[in-house]
Structure formats: structure tokens, C-alpha cells
């Protein structure tokens, strides 16, 4: 896992980082974080356990164990990524490993909304483009600069027009994905309620 973890907050307009490819359709949340890690008191320790069972099987050859991927932050996946249970632990584990954005052919619905809620933008690309990126990252590292405003991913050699749900795009640009911060903006109104609710005076 990367050194100090700081979660994203406020507006998210751009993500810059190295790509890491994970090939396969229907990668479910049980594979992302096996169920035994759910009885835990915080998400902190989940980063090191992400894909634990898959990594165990591949004995050091899993993309999340390769030295050259150590600092990667943009995950490239295929279709129906994150299917299975609704556990928020799955995107939390990815985030705490170091993932800041995901580009895939498609995502499972609850996984997708859990990602948005914790500040991981998920983009889609056609199968062909995903495969191009995955081939490219087989040979050398790919660094991408993703602009959320224009949904464009740029690198030295490649350019992609990414797809993202319009509502999610707006939420990242405005910071509204970060419910706590949005709610805190009304601090005065909250204080007002606290001071005026009848039963808080009994």
C-alpha cells in the first residue's frame, strides 16, 4: 500500500496517473475484497487485502503485486466490473490501495454508485479501446491525464473520449459527490435547526 492515505474531497476536476490493467469480465466484489474482511473496525487495512485470494493464487504475478505497478492509480477493467454484493468495502479497498479512477467497458450498478459516493470517478470506453490500452500497458507504463470537464484522457501517444454519466460528472465538478462537505455548507441552517427544534429544549 502507498504511504499516507488521504481520501479525496471537494471538487474533482482532473486525475493524473499511471494505468494498471486487470483483464477479465464479471470480476465480483468477493474477488475484490473477500467476505472475511467485512468483520472489521475500519477500512484502513483493506488496501493491502484487495484481491487477496487472486493474488495468493498468482503468487506475486498479479498486476497489484508487480513492482512496476506500485504507483499506479487508474484502473483499466473489462465488463460488469464490481458485480456481486453491495459492500462499500470493495471500492474502499481499491481506493486505499491507491486507485483514484477506473476506466472499464461497464460497471455493476451498486459498485458504480458506491464509487461515486467515495470519490472514484468511473468512466466507460468501448471494448476495442479498452483492449488497446490493456495491450499497451502490457509492454510499458501508460500515464494518463483525465479531464473531467471534457471527459478526455490524454497521454503522449493516445487520446480517448471517455464516457461518464452526466449526473456523476456534474457531481464531481461541483463537489456534490462528497455528501459531507455539501451538507456542511449549510452549517448556519443546521445550527438554526438545532436551536429551534421544540424537543431539543425539553
Amino acid at each position: 500500500m502507498k504511504s499516507e492515505f488521504t481520501p479525496p474531497f471537494g471538487k474533482i476536476t482532473q486525475i493524473v496517473g499511471q494505468c494498471i490493467s486487470l483483464i477479465g469480465n464479471d470480476i465480483d466484489t468477493d474477488r475484490i475484497i473477500p467476505a472475511r474482511f467485512l468483520k472489521c473496525v475500519n477500512f484502513d487495512s483493506l488496501g493491502k487485502s484487495v484481491f487477496e485470494d487472486d493474488r495468493e493464487t498468482l503468487k506475486g504475478q498479479h498486476p497489484f503485486d508487480l513492482e512496476e505497478n506500485k504507483n499506479a492509480s487508474i484502473l483499466i477493467v473489462n465488463s460488469n466490473f464490481g458485480c456481486g454484493s453491495s459492500r462499500e468495502h470493495a471500492p474502499q479497498a481499491l481506493m486505499r490501495w491507491g486507485i483514484k479512477a477506473i476506466i472499464g467497458e461497464s460497471f455493476a450498478e451498486i459498485f458504480y454508485s458506491n464509487c461515486i459516493a467515495i470519490g472514484i470517478p468511473c468512466f466507460t470506453l468501448p471494448k476495442k479501446s479498452i483492449q488497446d490500452i490493456q495491450k499497451y500497458t502490457d509492454n510499458k507504463s501508460l500515464f494518463l491525464e483525465i479531464g473531467i470537464k471534457n471527459s478526455l484522457a490524454k497521454s503522449k501517444d493516445l487520446n480517448f473520449n471517455l464516457e461518464i454519466k452526466e449526473s456523476s460528472r456534474k457531481m464531481f465538478l461541483s463537489g456534490e459527490w462528497d455528501a459531507t462537505s455539501t451538507l456542511l455548507e449549510n452549517e448556519n441552517l443546521i445550527e438554526n435547526k438545532f436551536n429551534n427544534l421544540p424537543y431539543l429544549k425539553f
Binding site: 468483520k39 462499500e88 456542511l184 441552517l189 443546521i190
Partner: protein, 469 residues
Amino acid sequence: MSQDTLFDKVWDLHKVSSLPGGSDQIFIGLHLIHEVTSPQAFGALKDKNLKVKFPSRTVATVDHIVPTDNQSRPFKDNLAEQMIDTLERNCLQHKINFFNIGSGNQGIVHVVAPELGLTQPGMTIACGDSHTSTHGAFGSIAFGIGTSQVRDVLATQTIAMNKLKVRQIWCDNKLSSGVYAKDLVLHIINKLGVKAGVGFAYEFAGPAIDELSMEERMTICNMSIEGGARCGYINPDEKTFSYIKNKLYAPKNENWDKALLWWKSLKSDENSIYDDVIKLDASKVEPTVTWGITPGQSLGINQQIPQLADLSPNDQFIAEEAYEYMGFKPGQSIKDTPVDVCFIGSCTNGRISDLRVAAKVLKDKKVSEKVKAFVVPGSEKVATEAKKEGLDEIFKDSGFQWREPGCSMCLAMNSDKLIGNQVSASSSNRNFKGRQGSPSGRTLLMSPAMVAAAAINGKVSDVREFINI
């Protein structure tokens, strides 16, 4: 859109703002936390460098993971110990009132808050637990929330939420003897379906509801979520007020008078508008038992497990899964099904009145030798009162084990679990596959009186044949 219902009034009172995305920002008057869903939320506060906004509006207890045999610390289960320890430290650090084991006030969060007088009419109440709907029995608007919303309540005392629609469920006449609130709510879920309540708050009303005690009303509201409704409530009345009076956190003296005045103004107007109204006849409800793997798959004690053709196409798929998992055949009677384990407890039916009813059935009787039976009081207060009334002795004399308070085999996060494909007669609220600790364990939900009857006979029985109730 509903208008002038209690739900509308309480919602409007607590609305802080309309958020750009279309949801409302709602102030939470009382926030309840426990060891399972709060630690990650406290972790998120730390990550974001935030404080608990109004620590006085959050109270904590420990319930899900506590052992019910030996509660001495450290717990034998390391993970359980780590969870209670984390909660203790979080409460200490953030100055949150924590009802720990041995305080006299510990217990299942939804049993504890009402019995301490924390739950009051007109409040909004949230807890990282789906059975928070229980508190609606007092005319509060109470719902379960997810971990990130627990974080939001800690940090801001508010959450973002879309307003719910309101469905009134009008229950005519009254329950016949030997039939309890649990039977009524299982019946309602069976009639409406487990998904019907999605997007709705359920208002339970009518003569049959008026007749119920506060504890029975809690049983009804508790299981709203099993019908898909995140929130269920009952308009407050004299019973509500007298239940709260003199409780530890109830308003006192002139504050009591002020509170009473305000509470009396809180109910759905005579001509309020509902999004939907459903009527049913409570006198027709029989002692009810679940036969399947959702709380909607239930039937009267004298009925047969439905044939596939009797079910709507929507229900057929899950019914087939249920026949197979439960090992039942369509057309088979539920009565006389042998049971291995009998469990009385949970936030649905672990209150003093539940223990009284069960004890009445068990008095001077013996539990079948084939059955392991145990009772887990819902809270330390329930346990104390039961002992004072000698109920613990009645249970023990009959062959029931008497345990310490907690959630226990409602969800089996401690060591109380079914083994293999054992069948349990359980007073809890969920009969999902594997819910009671064994991946092939089978759960039959029923009222505490029916659990007691099943314990004596070693098989599902009609409690009405037992006693003159």
C-alpha cells in the same frame, strides 16, 4: 403526493434545505450507534479531519457481537473484543454517551432507546441499522442508514435523503386471542410483499393498532423494513405518552407539560392525503409462521404451504428456491414441522411483554428433549425486570437457557448459531438463507408465544391449544 400526515409534518419540521440534486437535507434529532456500523464512520471523520457536530444527540450501545453466555472482558472472540474496544474509544474521544455492558442500560439499540425515554414523538431518528423503523411506534420518523450516512450524521447531524411517499395501512377490528402483533405484521408483509414498501413510509392505523400496547406497536414498526419500507410509524396517543412518562430521559416537570402539549398536536390530520391506502381485517389473522426464505413467505398455522400455481408469477421463482432450501413440499402443513432450536429474543420480540407471554405458555411445562431452547432478553433492563417477576425461573424450570442481553442468534454474529440444516423456531425478524449462522440453517419466524409452544412440543404448534390466553 402525501399531505398533512405525521410523516409530512415531521419531515418539514426537520428539513434544513433542498439540495441541488433533488434530495432534501434532513436534521436528525436522535442518532443511535452500535459497534458494527459506526467504526468506519468514525474512521472517515478522522480521514476528513472532522469532529462530531452535536455529540449530545448521539448515543451508543453494544449489541450485535456481544456473547450471551460469558460477557467478561476481554471477549473470547478477538474480533468482537476489537469492535467493542473501538466503540469505547470512539465514544470516549468524541464525548458520546455509551451504555456499556454492566451499566444497567445496555441492550439491543432498538430496545434500549425507547425504554430509556430517548425515543419520543415528532423526532427524526437514524441509526446504521435497518430496524431503526422500530422507533416509529412513538410517532417519530425513524430509518436505517448506511455507513457513509452515519458519517454524515456524526459530522453534520443531517443527511441527504429523498422524501418518501406515505402508505396508510388501516387495520380494522382487533386481533383475536392467541394472535399477536408479530402475526399481524407477518400477515401484512405476506399480503403486500417484501418489496411493496420500497420508496414508502408505512403509517399503521385503525382500531387494531390503537388496541396494541407500545411494545406490540414496536414489533409492527420494527418489521416495516421487511416489507420494504424504510420507515414505519404510528400516530402517538395516550398510550405513547404514558409509556414515556418517568423514563430516564423523558422530559420532567414543566418540560413534561410542554412536551405533552406539543406531542398532542402531532398526528396525521383527519383529512390528510396519502399516496396509497390499504385496508385489512385484523380479526382474520391467525397465528402466523414463515415457511420460506423471505419474511413474506408466511402462512396461518392451519394452512398448507402454497402450491406454485397459487402464487403470482413474481413470487414463483423465490418459492421454488424456498421449497428446496427449506426441504418443504408444496401442499404440506406447516403445523407439526419438527424444530431443533427455539430462540426468543431480538429487537422484534425481546421485550418484557414478549417474555411474559412466553413464560405464561411455559409455566409448569417442559421443553421437548429434542430441542435446544434459549431466551435472550433485549436489554439489561428487560433482564432485570424479568428476574424481578421471576420469569427467568419459569424459563429455566421449563428447560430454556437464560442468557445475557444482545442480538444473539437473530443474526449470529456471536457464538449462538444454528448447526448444519437445523430448523429454528425464532421470534426474530429475518429468515434469509444462512441468517442464523449456518449456511444451510433454516428459520421459521413466529411470535414468542408460538416459539414457546414449539419448544414444548418439539414441533410447530398452535399456541391457542395450550392455554386460555
